[in-house]
Every structure is written in structure tokens, then in C-alpha cells.
Subunit: 236 residues, 2 copies
């Protein structure tokens, strides 16, 4: 991760924080404006990462050792001279580069105007974050967070592709739904809610309703308990 | 987009900026700490959006009209009580909800500790941003940017894919679930199902249950009708 001439130390700290959030480690800062940027308070939980960051005088020095350099920016104000990659497609390129033993540098420009044409001339490609055309300019810390999320989420997605786990327990079995339907129906009758002529239609609708709701077995036990109690009170 | 008790106006501004970046418009702020949050300087290019943001006293008011409420947070410090969805999977759910005419609310907690267990009981699901286990806690503005990027990038990705429409109507809105919860609770009391000491816990569980079941407005009217009838009989 390379920041070119960031002006506000709070933004540098925010970048460090996002890096820690998504498991990235090496930060380089090119020609920063402020002197004490390594003590930025905004680097919550990333103080060590920020302290270990290197400062260089030029972008060339900062990207030394990188086999793929990706500059970031919007296309709104420029005619790109290098390959343009939309952020959602960056992950695959980065992964391929790492697989073949390469090292990737992601470069962000200063807050006000982003990377210059010259900065970009050190980049293999220009990464575009797909923002709204009416307001394309992002806050530096937010832009970094979005990029690192995309890269981290992508590798996580690939790792767990198969296992899609839902946070719910298993749905209640058919015979349990029927049991509940029976108790609810008796309750309807006890409460004079279901006139005789409507009973068949109501029973049908109730079955559909319970399947639409799809309660888990635990949910079903809870609902059943309430209706049994109500029924007992109504029939008393 | 709903922010619950944000402390730092600069963060609120950063949220507004990210919303403008990714084409989102409606911001609600619940019980903010600072008075002049609508003038936050950090809302670069999003001054109008921030000025049009609504302030409410409670989360319930803020999510009125929403048919799917998604709370955000990390699982690091809590045992979730609702369905957990990893951010990369949220887009599909949001889209499906919008396709069937629903409205989605995305809720973020205060900077220090995030949403409380009670806040989350108003949510259908908990969205987890997949962060590094050693440093899961994100800056508020960055977390919002990452979520909105995911949603915006996804819908751009999918616009071309085939639409899969479900045969259900829109889910019932948040305030309707509250109405139903109130009637069910009164029924529980009338049936001596809910002893006084358990009432708070039961109310909490009932909120969770209704959101797990996710009834449509039509389903809700039907259930409400039955419980009103029961209540009338029990209280007679």
C-alpha cells in the first residue's frame, strides 16, 4: 500500500486502520506533508503497523520490488493512458500475480486531486472504483477501505465458495407444521374467528401461511406453546 | 441508511459522502450526541444529502416503512440472535427484497461499541463485514463505504443478469411488525402466558421471532386479525 503525498495525518491513520481490518501490513508513504504522521490518533488498533510504515521521497522508491503496480483514481477528470480495471475485477489480477510469485503495490494519490499523470506512469494499470458520476471523489480512508475489502473478500469468497451456511436452525418438519395448524385451527374455532362455511378455505390458507413463514423447530415450539395456552384459556 | 447515536459529526459527514459516492440518498440519524451534525465539514459533495437527513428519537421510528432491516456489526464480541449474513452475500438479499417492492434499511451503531442487543432485535439480520480477527473494529465512515460499495457494485454487476422473482408480496414494514408484537404481547398477558418477571425477555424474543418469520403485509393482516379476535374474547 502506497500513499503519495497525503496531506492529513488523520487520513494516513485511517488507511492504517483499514489495512489492519483487512489483514494487510506493509505501508509506504511518499513525501508526506505533515511531520508527525506516524502518530496519527485515527490508526485505532493499527499503531504498530503505522509505526513500521516506511517513508520515501519518491513513488519510484516506494514501489521498488513490486511486480504489479495498480494506481487508483476516477476516470471523471482524466483520459487514462494505461489499462483500466474496475475494482471488482482487480482481485483476480492480484491473485494471479501473487500465485506466480509477484508482489502487488496499490497506490493512492493526495486527497485533493489524486495521482498525477506522471504518478500513473509508474502504474501498470488504473483501478477505478465504480462511484456515482455526480459525486465520484472519495475520501482517502474510505477509498482504501473499499479497495482492501474487495481484495480481502474476494480471497475469502474463493476459500469458502462451497460452504454457504445460514444462521438459522433447520426448518420445522411437515408433520410439526400440521400439528401447529391443528392447534391454531381449534383456537380459531374457540374464538369464533372461523365460521363453519369458511373452515375449509381457512385451513388451506393457514397451511400456506405456515409454509411461507417457514419457522424453525424452535420457533414452532414457541408458537405452539402460546396457542396451547390460549386454547386452554378459551375452552375453559 | 440509519445511524444510531453517532458521537462524532465528522463521521456522520463521512457517511453522507460515501452515500453520495455510491448513489444512496436517504439518511436517518437516531439520537445523535452533537447538535450541529448536519453541518459536518466532512460531507464533501454531500452537503444537500446531509441537510435533508432526518433525525429521530428512536430506532423504531427510523426504520418505519422498511421491510428488511439489516444491522451491521462484528461477531467478535457477541453471540448473534438473528440470521447472520456476510457482506458479500447481502446484495442478493437486498435486491430480492427491492424486486418484490420492499424497502431496505441498513443500520450502523455508535462508534465505540456498535449496535446493542436491543437495537439488533429490530433487525431481520446481522450483516458481518469479513474483517481480520485480530482487528475487527472498523471506523464508522469506512464501514459504511465498504457496505455501500458492495451493494452498488453488486447491483451494477447484476443488472445484466437474469432477474429471479419470487412469488411473495413485499414483507411487512417495521412499524407493522411492532403493531403485531404489541397485540400478541397483550394476548400473552391476557392468557396468563407471560409472567411479569419474564415480560421484558418475552418482548425481546417476540421481536426476534417476528423478524425471523418475515411475514408479508397480507400475512401480517391475517395474523393480526386472529390475535385481535382472541384478545377480544380473552378480555371479555
Amino acid at each position: 500500500m502506497v500513499l503519495v503525498s497525503p496531506r492529513n495525518p488523520l487520513n494516513i491513520g485511517a488507511v492504517a486502520r483499514a489495512m489492519a481490518n483487512f489483514g494487510f501490513e506493509r505501508l509506504k508513504v511518499v513525501a508526506p506533508f505533515a511531520a508527525h504522521w506516524q502518530e496519527a490518533r485515527s490508526a485505532v488498533g493499527a499503531e504498530a503497523l503505522l509505526g513500521a510504515a516506511a517513508e520515501t521521497a519518491t513513488l519510484v522508491e516506494a514501489v521498488a520490488g513490486c511486480t504489479l503496480v495498480a494506481g487508483t483514481g476516477t476516470l471523471a477528470y482524466r483520459k487514462p493512458e494505461q489499462r483500466v480495471v474496475s475494482l471488482p475485477d482487480l482481485g483476480e489480477l492480484v491473485e494471479r500475480e501473487m500465485e506466480r510469485g509477484g508482489r502487488v503495490g496499490l497506490v493512492f494519490g493526495p486527497e485533493k486531486h489524486g495521482l498525477t499523470r506522471e504518478d500513473l506512469s509508474y502504474c501498470h494499470l488504473l483501478v477505478e472504483i465504480p462511484t456515482d458520476a455526480r459525486q465520484p471523489s472519495m475520501n482517502l480512508g474510505q477509498a482504501v477501505a473499499v479497495c482492501l475489502y474487495e481484495l480481502a473478500a474476494r480471497s475469502a469468497r474463493d476459500r469458502t465458495e462451497a460452504a454457504s451456511v445460514e444462521g438459522r436452525g433447520p426448518a420445522a418438519a411437515a408433520e410439526r407444521l400440521e400439528l401447529l395448524a391443528g392447534v391454531v385451527e381449534r383456537t380459531m374455532v374457540a374464538a369464533d374467528y372461523s365460521p363453519k362455511t369458511m373452515r375449509g378455505a381457512n385451513r388451506h390458507d393457514l397451511r400456506l401461511l405456515l409454509r411461507r413463514l417457514g419457522p424453525t423447530e424452535r420457533d414452532l415450539r414457541r408458537i405452539l406453546g402460546l396457542f396451547r395456552r390460549i386454547l386452554w384459556r378459551l375452552e375453559r
